[in-house]
């Protein structure tokens, strides 16, 4: 026969209570349950039936214990929920993208294949997401239990600016990923090469002489672009200072690319020879150079103008 229900119920209730509370709650609950059982047996119920009914009415002992100990029955309550949620959203929208880009660049430097780079990048980004979610939640779980103050107060100044369409999180992630892919492609080209010769040997398309200083400048510009994309996301809209910074960046990229192109330093001489070997004559190479120049100029100018137009529209709307 199993032990009587009441002692088991009381044990289950007081087990999780602070020690100084246990004896007191045990004695009081014993009397209360006995009183309730007596009241039912006086009405003609069997002892066993009455005990079952009384304990069922009292409900889950853990809930009762939480009531005695004044403990919350939720992971993160209304006091901390929004702070937790906002922080989690910001971290998850930014950190994994950087982790992904970092891993891809590191893998490219060690000579991994595209498949390895992307696979490893995704695996790390996923585990970063899990870590962010777990540790952030753990911190807020502790805050909830200790009742600490996060110091976060809402004020009307925090009301979001009217969001210009196209300055959302999706935009930010897309531009960060594009920049990461571009950086990865540059490094891949430098260390592995994109252009395949007849013998299957790959040579870089971009002039290896540009490594490391020229490339370093390009990578620094990419980081600046990423910082700008984040700044636009944080402000929620384009502003004129941001638009001018964007135009300055585009101008730097454009002038550097065109200078290198004009001096014949942009493309790898080996790659140019290869084109010549494949029957691409010098006129065609000139056309290629001009098209490249126009392409770079077009992208840079369009980018600069786009930021400026969005800033002006946001200004008018505000």
């Amino acid at each position: 026969m199993t032990a009587a229900l009441t002692p088991r119920y009381i044990d289950a209730t007081v087990r999780s209570l602070p020690p100084q509370l246990q004896a007191e709650v045990r004695d009081e609950l014993t009397a209360s349950i006995a009183d309730a059982v007596d009241a039912r047996t006086d009405q003609g119920e069997s002892r066993e039936q009455a005990e079952r009914a009384v304990l069922t009415e009292l409900g889950d002992p853990s809930i009762l214990a939480a009531g005695y100990a004044d403990r919350p029955l939720h992971l993160i309550g209304p006091r901390y929920y929004l702070t937790w949620w906002r922080l989690l959203k910001v971290l998850v929208s930014i950190v994994p993208a950087f982790a992904f880009a970092g891993v891809v660049i590191a893998q490219a430097l060690t000579g991994a294949t595209i498949g390895q780079m992307i696979g490893e990048g995704i695996a790390i980004a996923l585990s970063v997401i899990v870590h962010i979610a777990f540790w952030t939640t753990l911190v807020f779980f502790v805050l909830e239990r200790t009742g600490a103050d996060t110091g976060v107060r809402w004020s009307v100044d925090q009301l979001p600016e009217e969001r210009e369409p196209g300055t959302g999180r999706a935009d930010l992630i897309a531009s960060l990923i594009m920049l990461a892919i571009f950086a990865g492609a540059l490094l891949w080209d430098r260390f592995r090469g994109f252009a395949f010769q007849a013998d299957g040997q790959a040579v870089p398309v971009v002039n290896p002489e540009l490594w490391p200083w020229g490339m370093g400048v390009i990578l620094a510009l990419l980081v600046a672009e990423a910082a700008l994309a984040i700044a636009v996301f944080v402000r929620g809209r384009w502003t004129f200072p941001l638009a001018w910074a964007n135009i300055a960046l585009a101008a730097v990229v454009l002038s550097l690319a065109l200078t290198a192109l004009a001096r014949g330093e942009l493309f790898n001489p080996e790659f140019v020879d290869m084109l010549a070997g494949n029957g691409v004559d010098s006129d065609a190479r000139t056309v290629l150079a001009v098209l490249t120049g126009l392409g770079v100029a077009g992208v840079c100018i369009a980018d600069g103008v786009d930021g400026w137009r969005k800033a002006r529209r946001a200004e008018l709307a505000g």
């Binding site: 004695d27 009397a31 209360s32 006995a34 309730a36 009241a39 009415e57």
Partner: protein
């Protein structure tokens, strides 16, 4: 107490409205010392039906806050913890009672114009 056929539908709102009144009723009833199960029955009889698992932790909380005082009575075969409303508890009960009366008056005034 008004019981109508919409009780189930209104349960959530009714529960919310009654929640605070259990403190008030307990403090008033415990001006005469009483123990857990006895108080539960008294509350039900006075029109404040309460669940045991709500009342018992509530008594402990009110005691911790100084609105109730307690004493173990071992005169009878079954030792029981008796609660009695403290002076602070009486003041709280008076304030709450006035508040409920004010709410009742304000509620009545809302429908007077009809």
């Amino acid at each position: 107490m008004v019981m109508n056929m919409n009780t189930t539908e209104f349960d959530g709102h009714l529960q919310e409205l009654r929640r605070g009144t259990i403190v008030l009723a307990s403090l008033q009833l415990l001006r005469t010392p009483g123990y857990g199960y006895g108080l539960l029955e008294q509350l039900a009889a006075s029109g404040f039906p309460t669940d045991a698992n709500t009342l018992y932790p509530l008594l402990r909380r009110l005691e911790k806050q100084g609105f109730l005082e307690s004493e173990w009575n071992t005169d009878e075969a079954r030792p029981r913890k008796f609660y009695r409303t403290s002076e602070a508890g009486v003041r709280l009960a008076t304030t709450l009672t006035e508040e409920v009366a004010a709410i009742a008056a304000a509620t009545a005034a809302l429908t007077d114009g009809e």
